[in-house]
């Protein structure tokens, strides 16, 4: 079999089961592809020895007839997940040299299912960013190029994951999504990204950004693959008290292709002023595809949508300032060297100034400010009350019989690296306008590649589902995927 690294998870699983392919062959193909893709800067810690060992073990398991759906499937892991014995630093200098003594629940679940670890994937520092440019490793590069060969961002924060999946370096990758960090990079790279319901997947061992918003999910080439991989990542977990005690259904079995009678909402507040025509047209086409498949398209209103972005940029930094207080140069990672007579407070301040990049420092300080005495009610509590209203908008839509909601994933296609003004953080935050609402409400959402812009760059649409109904959501996404027939791949230039 030539280039097995280009297979979908579903096809590789079937080929492995038939014996047409071994896990070792598949893993070697991925390792070779990774070696040839250094320019993309997607993989930042390589684990080829581990990969080969795990692939051999998977072959033994396949031979013994003891295989699970992910057995022998090579995956990449976002740097934010702790993998025992492998550097895990969430794209930050402050965790330089940190090698976890423990395994995140998500990766443990994947290894138990027989998946193969290829390495750690690039990301924005502590998952704060939409371009991958805040990574301490330098940005991952989108395999899709712009006019004249200009290098584009793969999006963020899970940009390395998206680039690796789009460039066929791995069959699937883990991502995390706090404000759109799975769905936006998926849309920028023509791949599928699923953010599960808050609590579907354990956060244990995932380096925290904003604990009430963070959720891990799969990034894959197809919706079916997302269903398979979510099934392997999800579990109840006594180590995470916010992880739901729910059985993990067979998500793949939910892909019936039948969405007749489903009511799909089109939220009028997502039709933003100045939205590019290509995005607007794509959204209409997506609605037509779902209507043609028998769904009922309904105009709905989510009146507080406009306030999601400012609410998010209060709540997420507030939680981050608290979570990131642990990086003090005492227990792990970087510690600044001190001058004579400098005490412990100076050690904290220098360590954090040296270890955190500009965007992380900015968010920690904003979070500190909104939680400080005198401002807590004006900013933090007000934002949490607005968050309750945003969630109520969705609750009402679902109570009125809406099954899911269709919206654009991003306000544009991927843009050139270096084109966002770092001195204007608000401009950068506007990238997340279509994605943050979902995290605030804790709902599941999926980004599916549906079309291309005039330059040929991929564009995605999002579907939002009801809480803990990822199966139904994936089924609708699969119908959209098939109707859109998105098959374009980036030309190999790297």
């Amino acid at each position: 079999m030539t280039d097995p690294n280009r297979l979908t998870i579903a096809d590789a699983r079937d080929a492995l089961a038939r014996g047409d392919l071994t896990a070792v062959e598949l893993t070697e193909a991925c390792l070779t592809a990774i070696e040839g893709a250094g320019t993309l800067n997607a993989f930042v810690h390589h684990t080829p020895d581990m990969a080969r060992q795990m692939a051999s073990a998977a072959d033994a398991r396949l031979k013994a007839g003891d295989a699970a759906p992910m057995t022998g499937i090579p995956v990449g892991i976002k740097d934010v997940f702790c993998v025992k014995g492998v550097p895990s630093q969430a794209g930050s200098r402050i965790l330089q040299g940190f090698v976890p003594e423990y395994e995140s629940t998500v990766t443990r679940n994947l290894w138990t299912a027989g998946a193969v670890m290829l390495g750690k994937l690039n990301q924005d520092e502590f998952a704060m960013g939409s371009t991958n440019e805040s990574s301490c490793y330098g940005p991952a590069v989108n395999p899709w190029r712009g006019a004249g060969g200009v290098q584009l961002t793969p999006g963020g924060s899970s940009g390395g994951s998206a680039a690796a999946v789009a460039a066929d370096l791995c069959l699937g990758a883990t991502g995390t999504d706090t404000g759109g960090s799975i769905r936006q990079p998926a849309a920028f790279t023509g791949t599928v990204g699923l953010k599960p319901t808050y609590g579907r997947v354990s956060r244990w061992g995932v380096i925290a950004y904003a604990s009430s918003l963070d959720q891990a999910g799969p990034m894959t080439r197809t919706v079916r693959d997302a269903a398979i991989m979510l099934g392997a990542m999800a579990s109840a977990d006594p180590q995470d008290s916010t992880c739901a005690d729910l059985p993990v259904p067979d998500f793949e079995a939910a892909l019936t292709g039948d969405i007749r009678g489903k009511r799909i909402g089109i939220p009028r507040e997502y039709r933003m002023e100045g939205m590019p025509d290509a995005i607007d047209a794509l959204w209409r086409e997506g609605a037509d595809m779902l209507r043609d498949a028998g769904a009922e398209i309904v105009d709905i209103s989510l009146p507080h949508t406009k306030y999601a972005l400012p609410a998010y940029y209060v709540i997420a930094p507030a939680e981050a300032s608290s979570n990131l207080a642990r990086y003090d140069g005492v227990r792990y990672g970087h510690r600044a060297s001190l001058g004579a007579g400098e005490g412990i407070t100076r050690m904290y301040e220098k360590t954090r100034a040296e270890g955190f990049g500009a965007e992380v420092q900015r968010r920690v300080m904003i979070g500190t400010y909104v939680l400080s005495a005198g401002f807590y009610d004006a900013y933090y509590n007000r934002a949490r009350r607005v968050r309750a209203l945003i969630k109520r908008d969705f609750d009402r839509a679902f109570a009125e019989g809406i099954d899911s909601i269709l919206a654009p994933a991003t306000p544009s296609a991927a843009f050139p690296l270096g084109s966002v003004d770092k001195g204007d953080p608000v401009q950068m935050y506007l990238n997340d306008v279509f994605t943050v609402t979902l995290n605030l409400a804790g709902l599941p959402g999926i980004s599916v590649p549906v079309g291309q812009d005039a330059q040929g760059l991929p564009l995605g649409l999002q579907l939002f589902g009801r809480p803990f109904e990822e199966g139904a959501l994936l089924n609708q996404a699969a119908v959209l995927e098939r109707a859109a027939g998105f098959v374009a791949k980036p030309d190999r230039w790297w």
Partner: protein, 95 residues
């Protein structure tokens, strides 16, 4: 409301991040533009709405109050920038 250099210095100190004196004006401007963006929240009528604390209507799980793990000081110290005699080492705290 606009952020003064003094307020920027104070927030940097509360966040335990060293900021050079000459970087304070730019920091104050940045924080100010972000806070202005957040001021949109004042347009929303939140009368009678409770601040949201969690997204799922789920009681936080309880567990038995028993020791379930431990006895691995060496593993916990293995990532420390400075560990001595089974402890994390830091600059002198008490004179």
């Amino acid at each position: 409301m606009s952020i003064t250099e003094d307020q920027a210095r104070k927030v940097a100190h509360l966040a335990r991040i060293a900021v050079d004196e000459d970087a304070l004006p730019a920091l104050a401007r940045e924080l100010d533009s972000i806070l202005q963006f957040m001021d949109q929240l004042n347009e929303v009528d939140v009368e009678g709405i409770e601040p949201m604390t969690g997204v799922t209507p789920m009681r936080l799980k309880r567990r038995e109050d028993v020791v379930s793990s431990g006895g691995m000081a060496d593993r916990i110290l293995s990532n420390a920038p400075d560990a001595r005699e089974g402890f994390f080492a830091v600059p002198k705290v008490v004179e």
